[in-house]
Amino acid sequence: MYDFAYHKPASVADAVKLLAADPDAKPISGGHTLLPALKHRLNKPSALVDLSGIAEMKGIRREGNSLIIGALTKHVEVAKSDVVKAAIPALAYMASHIGDNQVRNRGTIGGSVSNNDPAADYPAAVLGLGATIHTSKRKIAADDFFQGMFTTALEEGEILVAIEFPIPEKAGYAKLKNPASRYVMAGAFISKGPAGLRVAINGAGPCVFRQSDMEAALGRNWSADAVAGVKQSADGLNSDIHGSAEYRAHLVTVMAKRAVAAAG
């Protein structure tokens, strides 16, 4: 990696200030995407702003009919949280299946969602539950947040602080892993609740997306069979040495079926 300056602010305000002062600085939390990129010299930030010391970005709490998870919360903490397990068991399940032990003990929900890797897990939960993103300066609805491959509504210097999940009546997640990277080949997060009936698909396309035909089908008949009949178009889906767009399109339906079955 190249040389960089290192800052460890204690508050969101300080972090925002540091990022505003240096447009080439980058925030880092678990570092599971940024550090490998630095090691491969694919990224050359002037400074890293380490968010890990910011107390206000930590913690899991339930507020009324919402679950609020601080951006710095590690995957393992979500997976093992009794609060999460009671409120949204599908989210705890998802967290428990991200990467491996090492990843789950370093990676954070805020980092994953901010990065918006098409093959990451959490964006599907955020979109599939209709969550609200709390940033250093505003609140953004999930439907407006994910804008494309590795692209979100976050502006330069804006930090994701927490994610507010409305607690659904039911929710389920299923994915097939890429055999090499163990990222998501295709996954589906499906929920029914205050944010409506939502089907979010990850892994298959360049960005997590809602599958409206499946949402309609489930609206008519909440069952695995209902989504089994909905075919995903392969147009615009990812295609690489691990699977064609057509295969991924097929997996979308299979994973959606499984997610509905898991949701119950």
């Binding site: 990696m1 190249y2 010299r41 090499a180 990277s181 040495i241 699977g243 295969y247």
Partner: protein, 790 residues
Amino acid sequence: MNVVTPFEGIGASVRRKEDVRFLSGRGQYTDDINRPGQAHAWILRSQHAHARIQGIDTAAAAAMPGVVAIYTSADLAAIGGLPCGWQIHNKDGSPMAEPKHPVLAEGKVRHVGDPIAVVIAETRAQARDAAEAIIVDFEVLPAVSQTTAALAADAPRVHDDVAGNLCYDWHIGDKGAVDAAFAAAAHRVVFETTNQRLVPNAMEPRCAVGDYDTTTGEHTLFTTSQNPHVIRLLMGAFVLQIPEAKLRVVAPDVGGGFGSKIYHYAEEAIVTWAAAKLGRAVKWTADRTEAFMSDAHGRDHVTRAELALDKEGTFLGLRVLTHANMGAYLSTFAPCVPTYLYATLLAGVYSTPAIYAEVKAVFTHTVPVDAYRGAGRPEATYLLERLVDVAAKQCGFDRVKLRRRNFIATDAFPYQTPVALQYDSGDYFSTLDQALKTADWAGFEARRAEARMRGKLRGIGISTYLEACGIAPSAVVGSLGARAGLYEVGVIRVHPTGSVTVLTGAHSHGQGHETTFAQLVADKLGVPIANVDIVHGDTAKVPFGMGTYGSRSLAVGGSAMDKAMDKIIAKAKRIAAHLMEASVEDVEFERGTFRVAGTDKTKTLTDVSLAAYVPHNYPIDEIEPGLEETAFYDPKNFTYPGGCHIAEVEIEMETGRVSMVNFTAVDDVGRVINPMIVEGQVQGGVAQGIGQALLEACVYDQDGQLMSGSMMDYTMPRADDLAPVSVATHTTLCTHNPLGVKGCGEVGAIGSPPAVINAVVDALRDYGVEHIEMPATAPKIWSIIHGKSV
């Protein structure tokens, strides 16, 4: 006092002595070695598969902080290219094409990763920074990466002086006899397949540290090698012209090799040369990305095979045409892999009377290909064992009965195959029967029906295989083109108080030699393994050695130790006879104790060793003091492990995903010294075989870009990809080495891939599938189940 427990000798599953340091992080690997004043090297590598180098501008880089020196091929004009250790001859008797393999690219780069320049700096980061500032003016040229495409008339040439990219066009066997067999056959079966390219991916990336003593003129190379003496010979004699006495090569703890650390690599020569040039040590350590593009790859064959059978299923003849990808240059032993380690294995365990094989080796714009765990034998076994299954299906024979019908009879040994080898021993019927029973072959259909209820397609596959290892008789390999002998060296040094140091030319990089070899000494000399130290991997300590590969360490290296122990015993008996005032003919020796036959007069090995080193009461006029013996052992033949592997898989119909559910291996590896280590070796080999069958593929695009250049895209097998592996042995002894051992390092990787693919094809039996290419990935299988093109 040497008291041997009965549990430490041959046949005891003693725990590995070396594991304490490995498991507690205290191994000493090459990268752990740092020399005073050491500088660091970074290699600038080509990002193009094929390009002309119009110019290299190092001025800006040379001015960067910490830079000590920058070298390109222009600086290396006085040193030789990397040598090839095996020369194959064409059908017409002419030698193979052997283009120069420069240490740094000369005028052209020929694969992604081809080294262009080396930067030496105070730190590794500074060297890398400076390497990024080197400006290379490339004229990018068209490239060819696929084996058969490289032979096309209009294919880009890898080497200007190698027409048609053909390295050699070789053959073996009796073409006329095979033609006659096909003319008379009732059934003719054709099978075409690709044995895909693999990346070895040893856990420890390669590393080399060069050092130079300006006062003595002595060079030292610390390197991640399976055979330090071979590196000293090749690099000293052919590349750098350093006499052996002035060149020490040390291969300390090495974290896996699988063949990829046999070869002499450019980086070893660079750091050794640069250390002398600069008068300070130079270290280079590969990162994983470099490993993918600079370690020799494995396999990469495209083959068409035809089998002739009579009406009852007896094999009459086998005809094979293989195209083997050599990559851009000839790696050290590359030419022998698809010839003498492959085509000679095409008889397998069968008494096929006529075999003819042609092998065309081609150059492409890819990383050089060389031996990888099994080396040629997995390719032959896969071809044969898939072909037998295809034949059974096409001709309506039961696949087990068809195998059994064609097995070489147990009383037919020694058995001369039509492709040069003579098998000394084996019992294929017993390993088959034992495996069928262990795997409950007979009960499979019930398991298949049960799986179907769960939405799974269950399949079972078998492979009955044989391999040739314990390489190899020097005169034989010499006549076949090897530029080296393949004996091994063992020194037994009995110290004054009876502990033993063994020097061996074999090299342990995960095999457990420090334990297994100590057990040989415990068994024969009666010395507890705690008092036996195994020394390997240092040309300054071990007289000579050819190293570890081809499952040769025990069969060849162990035999050398055994021979040296015979010499020790012979001398010690004479000393003991003197001490006991008896005739040497009357002295018996068993596990540490000398006895005058028929009496209770005894002396221990320690009594004798003490006398040998403190020769007060000693026949000094007749016997030299000391108790140390050296033996060079040249094997009389290859050894021929074999056996039966049975794989059971389930396919998830919705996704095409294959799960290994069971794996049974019954192997004949000859006499077993440490059953636990054998089991570990077989399990590891099976894991690699399952990796090849289901997961791994090194993918180049048409332009020679490496598409699977990291663990994100290259699927290494992980624990949850594997099945419980049941390992058993059924022993027939090797008849020509003193230990009766055959070798177990490669059997797992050789026997398993066809068993797995045969199981996958069996699982898909309702879909009219005759074959599925490795790796049998989920999308490929899904496309079969759902009738889609991949």
